[in-house]
């Protein structure tokens, strides 16, 4: 009787030891070998090199509540949040300088962390040092195997911004009409186009188009270049497509000027608004025949 018991005890002890040893081994190889020290899990922003292993603690402190320990966007706060936190495993990002269907550059991710995403629960993290933000970029990249298998896309070329003229604002409006931006954004940019109410993101969750008129800040930055990038790269994971194949670079600037004129007065659009006022621009007519 005693012997049997002893045997069982011994056996279970051995099994327990083996299991814990195995899981420990898995954890260490997983974290240290595979991920943290592979070249794909560093980041390069300007002359700063970010290291994933330096970001493990900051991530747990600042990001894990929403983005989750696995980086899948299922942190404990995620259920209360809309739009939902990014899923770093899928590595589909809205704000990129790279073409639709490609990974963003390290700098794109770095900028999103520093800027935050307006109209979402993602705040600006510019209180963190640049080094800390670069480390977090490296950590974010370790969540998805895509960074091992793919290279970041090549940033799109943005020609120098031309001088704004009334003709350019008019051409911009023509682009807005021809590209049918109004189908979602509405003829006055009020986010009330005929398709606006049925839009969903890639995970089937309702999403609204950008309203140019209510003073919202553009999602991926407020400069003219930032707005240019949005429609020439698309916001991947959302209904906003890339127009890179259909809008010529010079016309793209015209569209930026026109979009600026729709916004209420801000730090960037005094000229645009003035010109639109002088031209007496009326909202585009969706029933005009397509040319």
């Amino acid at each position: 009787m005693h012997r049997n018991l002893l045997k069982w005890l011994l056996l279970s002890a051995v099994v327990a030891l083996c299991l814990s040893a195995a899981s420990y081994a898995q954890l260490t190889t997983y974290q240290q070998q595979e991920w943290l020290h592979s070249p794909a899990t560093s980041s390069h922003v300007g002359n700063i090199t970010g290291n994933a292993h330096a970001a493990a603690m900051p991530y747990r402190r600042y990001c894990v509540g929403c983005h989750g320990t696995l980086g899948d966007g299922n942190g404990e706060n995620a259920q209360w949040i809309s739009p939902k936190p990014r899923d770093f495993q899928l590595a589909i990002f809205k704000c990129r300088s790279t073409p639709t269907g490609t990974l963003p550059t390290d700098e794109d991710l770095f900028n999103s962390i520093g800027r935050g995403l307006d109209r979402s629960n993602m705040p600006s993290w510019d209180a963190l040092t640049k080094q800390e933000r670069a480390d977090l970029v490296a950590w974010i990249k370790h969540f998805s195997p895509r960074w091992q298998n793919e290279k970041a896309g090549t940033p799109i070329q943005i020609p120098a911004e031309p001088e704004i003229t009334p003709d350019r604002v008019k051409t911009g409006q023509e682009v807005f009409r021809k590209m049918e931006c109004w189908k979602c954004h509405g003829v006055q940019g009020m986010a009330n186009g005929p398709s606006s109410s049925t839009l969903t993101d890639d995970l089937g969750r309702p999403i609204s188009p950008f309203n140019f008129t209510d003073g919202s800040r553009p999602l991926c930055g407020s400069t003219d270049q930032d707005i240019y990038k949005i429609f020439m790269t698309g916001l991947d994971g959302t209904p906003m497509p890339s127009f890179a194949d259909n809008i010529k670079p010079e016309e793209a600037w015209d569209l930026v000027f026109y979009l600026r004129s729709l916004q209420p007065h801000n730090a960037y659009n005094a000229k645009e608004r003035e010109i639109a006022k002088q031209l007496g621009l009326k909202p585009v007519n969706p029933n005009a025949p397509a040319q």
Binding site: G101, E180, P239, M240, P241, S242, A290
Partner: protein
């Protein structure tokens, strides 16, 4: 002594490998001359489910295109005699590496017409280029939704009236749903497979061409009913038959 024995084994092994490789290339050459095919029909067992009509009044251009022929959802399209249209058939087992890696040069076309996708399901090989075109005088966005972790990366491109075709290809086999966010009723598929494939016509008939003699598993995929498989043997220059029937739900 030991050395000699080892050498003997090495020699025998080398000969075996050489003979094996030789016979492989010879048999492959012989088969290329007398390729067979796999043919058959796919039917729906039971009453075809009701396909909802599509309301397109949000876009007058789309609405006008269907003034005389109302559009219906195309999840299950049943023809006369119960033939199931838009079923993709491909060889899921039995192809040699070279047959798997052969890429067709033809470029299939996925058109947007009357704010519907034509064809509703576009089958293609891994790495095969395909074209997305638009015949519509209204803007679309083409938004395929593969799982990015498979290696196929989702993208989203606009296609206003008169825009040039979008030419793309996919990296790995996957059934990829395609949508247009502007017209939420638009729903189509890119069926990406490896090796020869076919799609059923309005009678549910199909033929997979250029299949070398051999034993294969054929898979039939339908977007609503999933997959079915069947084993077939293709003889040189002959047609093997594989008929499928999906149960109506």
């Amino acid at each position: 002594m030991k050395h000699q024995r080892n050498r003997g084994w090495a020699a025998i092994l080398a000969t075996l490998v050489l003979v094996g490789l030789g016979s492989l290339t010879i048999s492959h050459k012989a088969s290329a001359a007398a390729e067979g095919k796999i043919t058959g029909t796919v039917k729906l067992d039971g009453t075809a489910p009701h396909m909802k009509g599509i309301e397109m009044s949000k876009d007058p251009v789309c609405d006008k295109a269907h003034a005389n022929n109302p559009a219906h959802s195309e999840n299950v399209v049943v023809g006369k005699g119960g033939g199931l249209e838009n079923v993709v058939l491909y060889i899921s087992e039995g192809l040699s590496a070279s047959e798997l890696n052969a890429k067709p040069t033809q470029v299939p076309i996925f058109d947007q017409k009357g704010c519907m996708y034509t064809p509703h399901v576009l089958a293609m090989d891994v790495g095969q280029e395909f074209k997305v075109e638009t015949s519509d005088p209204t803007a679309h966005n083409i938004h395929p939704e593969p799982n990015p972790l498979t290696g196929n990366i989702p993208w989203n491109q606009s296609q206003p009236p008169g825009a040039a075709p979008v030419v793309k290809s996919w990296k790995t086999p996957e059934m990829i749903h395609v949508k247009c966010n502007i017209h939420p009723w638009m729903s189509g598929w890119f069926a990406v497979v490896k090796g020869p494939y076919a799609t059923t016509d309005e009678n549910g008939s199909y033929t997979i061409q250029n299949v070398p003699p051999g034993n294969y598993t054929v898979t039939a995929w339908q977007e609503t009913y999933g997959t079915q498989t069947q084993k077939v043997t293709v003889a040189a220059g002959a047609a093997a038959t594989a008929n499928f029937a999906f149960k109506a739900k």
